[in-house]
Symmetry: C2
Amino acid sequence: MAPSPAPRGARTATLTDVARLAGVSVATASKALNGRNHVSAATRERVAEAAAQLSFSPNSLARGLLAGRTGTVGLLTSDLVGRFSLPILMGAEDAFGAGEMSVFLCDARGDAIRERHHVQALLSRRVDGLIVVGSSTDPRPPLAAAVDVPVVYAYAPSENPEDLSIVPDNVGAGRMAVEHLIACGRTRIAHISGDRGFSAARDRAAGALAALADAGLAPVGEVAYGTWQEGWGRAAAAMLLDREPDFDAVLCGSDQVARGVLDTLRERGRRVPEDVAVMGFDDWRVMTTGARPQLTSVDMNLEELGRTAARALFEAIGAEHGRGVRTVQCRVVVRGSTAPGT
Amino acid sequence: MAPSPAPRGARTATLTDVARLAGVSVATASKALNGRNHVSAATRERVAEAAAQLSFSPNSLARGLLAGRTGTVGLLTSDLVGRFSLPILMGAEDAFGAGEMSVFLCDARGDAIRERHHVQALLSRRVDGLIVVGSSTDPRPPLAAAVDVPVVYAYAPSENPEDLSIVPDNVGAGRMAVEHLIACGRTRIAHISGDRGFSAARDRAAGALAALADAGLAPVGEVAYGTWQEGWGRAAAAMLLDREPDFDAVLCGSDQVARGVLDTLRERGRRVPEDVAVMGFDDWRVMTTGARPQLTSVDMNLEELGRTAARALFEAIGAEHGRGVRTVQCRVVVRGSTAPGT
DNA sequence: AAAGGTTCCGAAAACCTTTTCGGATCGCCG
DNA sequence: CGGCGATCCGAAAAGGTTTTCGGAACCTTT
């Protein structure tokens, strides 16, 4: 049996219908359904029954029109296809869903025109706030249009320091990774990074070098920048083996690079983790758990970042708006490539 | 310079303001801005100027309240974290964005309670339609609540054949894959599938076997079901080499399985594609392009599936609602693992 | 100059809910 | 029995837009 075959055209019940059925005025019906005072228990009951019978659902548009707040926010991503938007999105959706907020999703596809268009549409829908999710951690220009609702930038900070931005702590992540390797007893550590054009690569490298210096260690070779791909990992590992064969750990710019490094190390007869420990970045499960051995990685806590952005926006709605850049801590996820037996 | 520092509290301009500034009535202002007749060119110009000056943006809530249509749709996913929702989402968002529709995103996280709650919220916001995106191609129960707007199920079809569902053609995909292998001159084809519990695995196997039979060929060994992971690919390939070493192609249930198979084949001295051709499913770029050699795969065209679902919903809004299951074609993406030199 | 037609504009209703405030009813006390 | 307080209910306005329809002004034609 289909669940009450959609009565198309049968205008959905309004509060007036409920009131009529319950034999009260709309005002009373409203108060009864919203738990306001000055309604007798009996009346409240009658109204509730009537509402249930008509499967009444209050029209949020009318409510929003009156209240001046809609209970909606816009989530503007610049690149949905990218791997990093999604977890942030999930975290934000999660945090808002709990707070009775609904989320408009817009993907600008990296196009400024489309972005402006989407912002206009969202403002026209009277969203209470906006989260702008970038596709890399490099700063991005602030929204072009004049926006009269709070805006929170997530992942990619705004170039305007007056805006509120939530970003992962890549420097801390690099530091954390090296500290883990040192804790595993490694001292001859090389860093095969990703694309030098990304601040994520540079920040992680900076954190890693700082942690090495703090421990009185020098890196093995230069930081090797390339791409974020497996192929670069394979090539860079080969070069490292040729030039600086005396290393006992490799910190990689991404999980994909680490996969490539693992492949080359295995082919060249180095055992992981016995001879060489290997770490990745991003903790992309499909990459880390499919690897042999499973790959230790640094999780950027993107879902938490999304939740944080959502909470920040939520606070900014109605209250005064925060400013500046806030970071979210990363965390090391230990697997077999650095610690045997895990 | 910050772009006009958000004038909080400075009530956004309304049509009344525009009308006053232009020295006309709200009715005229409305008609002027919406390109209606019965407005002189001069007046239209004056109103447009006033609107621009106040950076007027019409209140969609009021408009929706009046029109009975909001220009919004709900996108209800059951599992955002899964790899398949996202491209569908993108396709849908793309198709709707072009049509001036805005998309509410909700993730039910596979929880029926949460799903019902989200549906209620969406109906309360008076969405014009609903797309329900599943996390696997297995049929799912139809929405529990009585919904009086069109619903389209994407990826996972509804169990109710009266509903409209858009799904990938997995049988056709399996057939297509085998046909490609045969076209590459292979005749001794094995199939290492994924998790038997998924209809996607069974459908692809059925299509593959049908194509083999059509070509007068028999598969090498049984269809091997396991998981969707790399580890299963490695293990299954090893077993295949032990039991039925005489094969010249392996069709894998997923790109991850194919990665595992590639690893084992390389380690056991079989060259790809010279000795053995290997194919995956899903065309997950990070898996296929990182592999050595790059992996031929079958793309399910999920983005197109999302667009198709969006278009179907769009048509159903206002018109009569379609029924039944429609499929979207898959396509083979050829890379080095089946055809050398590509 | 009057009649008729054309062109443009404005008043008002409609959409649905919430809130305010005045009015009505009832019970209780003096 | 009158007055008072408490309790509950309803009329009406507000929110911003679109649409309908009546009215005003102007031009053309006889």
